[in-house]
């Protein structure tokens, strides 16, 4: 049983040797650039904070309580994200790591919970917008003609708006709230993907292997799924990674303008807005949550930047040349 599995693996390895070599090269290229490694670490941290934020906060609270009760630390940090307290507008200290806001709530705790909202934004928006973009883009690019004309004109209508302005108008007319902000962002976001996919399909379509597939008698649907889709995936991945930062920042802008989740739900952009009244003395109120958003976006941008180099075949060939040149 095990032997046959091992044999199978050897066979697979032999058959896909070129592909494995290519992936190894990708990984090497990725590892070589410190910025992309830093980016991926930041992304992992933020995704973990986003998914498990409340539990992590509970964990830290428990740990600090334990340390305090054993006399290892002198003051017990307070992580009250929702309850009002008398510690109004306190600067960052051991008790309140990021300071407190005008209701005496802990900004560290609120920021941790705010990351979750930002992550939900970006994921939901992209999960809905990308499939719409892929389907419409594939149809428009592959069939061309009138279908393409209709889809492209509708896309153009949406792209005539600055993203933030249209998102603001939509979410205001739906009534402020997390759900309407998400709907607004989706409405603004899908046309970009249609345009990207359509452009890629137009160039992939010209390849000889597509014509060959058609000559053999393959149907349109299987040509699209088996030959065109795989070839538009890699630009899509790069674009998406960079785009997550864009969604997060636009979502933050919406919530800054009061159109995101409504209080008391903690949202980073909204916390920054609330802190504006207390500048410049209470700088931590606005600046620290804003900085968290910056780190979030920076992580995804660094990762996308690294992925772009790695997924670019020209870059890989140059690297291969360099590596093999060193060996010889």
């Amino acid at each position: 049983m095990f032997k046959s599995l091992k044999e199978r693996y050897e066979k697979w390895k032999f058959k896909n040797a070129a592909k494995i070599e290519e992936y190894r090269l990708m990984f090497y290229a990725f590892k070589r650039s410190p910025l992309s490694v830093a980016g991926s670490i930041m992304v992992i941290i933020f995704v973990i904070l986003g998914v498990f934020g409340p539990w992590i906060l509970d964990g830290i609270r428990g740990l600090m309580g334990f340390l305090y009760s054993h006399g290892i630390i002198r003051t017990e940090p307070s992580f009250n994200a929702f309850d009002w307290s008398l510690d109004v507008l306190q600067p960052p200290s051991w008790k309140h790591w990021f300071g407190t806001d005008d209701y005496g709530r802990d900004i560290f705790a609120r920021s941790m919970l705010g990351i979750q909202v930002s992550l939900v934004y970006s994921l939901v928006v992209l999960v809905v917008a990308i499939p719409i973009g892929i389907i419409l883009g594939l149809i428009a690019g592959y069939y061309g003609g009138k279908v393409d004309e209709v889809i492209s004109r509708i896309t153009d209508m949406f792209l005539a708006f600055p993203a933030l302005v249209l998102a603001m108008a939509i979410s205001a007319s739906l009534g402020a709230g997390l759900m309407s902000a998400i709907i607004a962002l989706i409405t603004v976001w899908w046309p970009g993907y249609v345009r990207l996919i359509r452009g890629q399909v137009l160039s992939v379509k010209e390849n000889l292997y597509i014509e060959a597939a058609r000559a053999v008698g393959m149907g349109n649907f299987s040509i699209i799924v088996k030959h065109i889709l795989p070839n538009v995936i890699s630009p899509l991945i790069i674009y998406t990674t960079m785009d997550i930062a864009g969604v997060v920042l636009t979502g933050a802008n919406l919530s800054f303008l009061g159109l995101g989740a409504q209080p008391p739900t903690p949202e980073l952009g909204r916390i920054v807005f609330d802190g504006l009244d207390y500048l410049p003395e209470k700088w931590w109120y606005s600046l620290i949550p804003g900085f968290m958003l910056f780190l979030f976006a920076l992580g995804f941008n660094l990762l996308g930047d690294g992925l772009r180099d790695v997924l670019d075949p020209r870059f890989r060939r140059r690297l291969e040349f360099e590596v093999k040149g060193e060996k010889e």
Binding site: A163, V165, S173, G269, V272, L279
Partner: protein, 335 residues
Amino acid sequence: MAEYKYYLIRRLLTFIPTILGALFITFIVSHVVPMMPAKAGFARHLNLEALKRLEQLYHLDKPWWEQFAYYVRDLFTGHWGTSMMSGRPIFEDLRDYYPVTVQLAIAGEALILLIGVPLGIVAAMKQDKWIDYVIRVFSLVAYSMPYFLWAIGIQLLFYWKLGWFPGIGLGKPPAKIYTGMYLLDSLLCGDWSSFIDNLRHLFLPAFSLALPNAGVIARLMRGSLLDALSSEYIDYTRMKGLPERMVVLKHAMKNAIIPIITVGGLMFGGLLGGAFITETVFALAGAGRYTVMAVLRSMDIPVIMATTFLIVMTYLLVNLVVDLLYGAVDPRVRL
């Protein structure tokens, strides 16, 4: 030049359906989406007579294409409704506030090009040297920061801490107001003290609005210049013995600048949107801050729809100008 005339006519003709399309979207957003709950709300509290009269007043009893026609007519004749917040007609409010926003966006666009293009050229000429890495990291950091963080950071540092520039409100109004853009007006009537004051007041907001976009432009400029530098006609100019600076600035730039024109034009829309945030932080009395206040205080939908309409029209107009410029610079586009 005959072909440029055809290009011009063709481009102008495609402009009209784009406007109508954009207006159709704002129509759906302002009429279809929020009106239904309003209608339901009215029906419960008003008698049938009053409801009918309201429907007639707002043309709600007509089929949708007639409603759309009324909507477009009202937009272009300046009947934008009354602001719940200020109690004045929205058209008059925005006539005062919108020039401030446009002025800010134009200043931002100028700073984007002034910062982004030179940085991109330097990075491309010193490829893989330390200065190239510094510029690349700067551009990544610049466009990863949200507008409001740039604005708050810059305001804290240059206004509150160092006090180099004024960081709140508009400058001294000029003696005469023609357009509402103080900078332009003070030039027109020769009021120098007001001009300097407004320039100083405009600097920090425009700078914070420009920086994220300047990062994008620097990066794009670098890539596009490197692309141009690797082409054969550049090898030829080098073989001719031209100094490197001439090669880059005169020959490679001619091709490398084309994507910058396109993207720079597209950025104008982003700047108009970003002005909402910058004006809020720097307390500028512009259309952005006016709209934000209208939304925050009273969910004033007509105000936000009017601002959206103005911004879309401005943006489409800028794109039209960019396209025409593009056609003039690059003969290949005209075909």
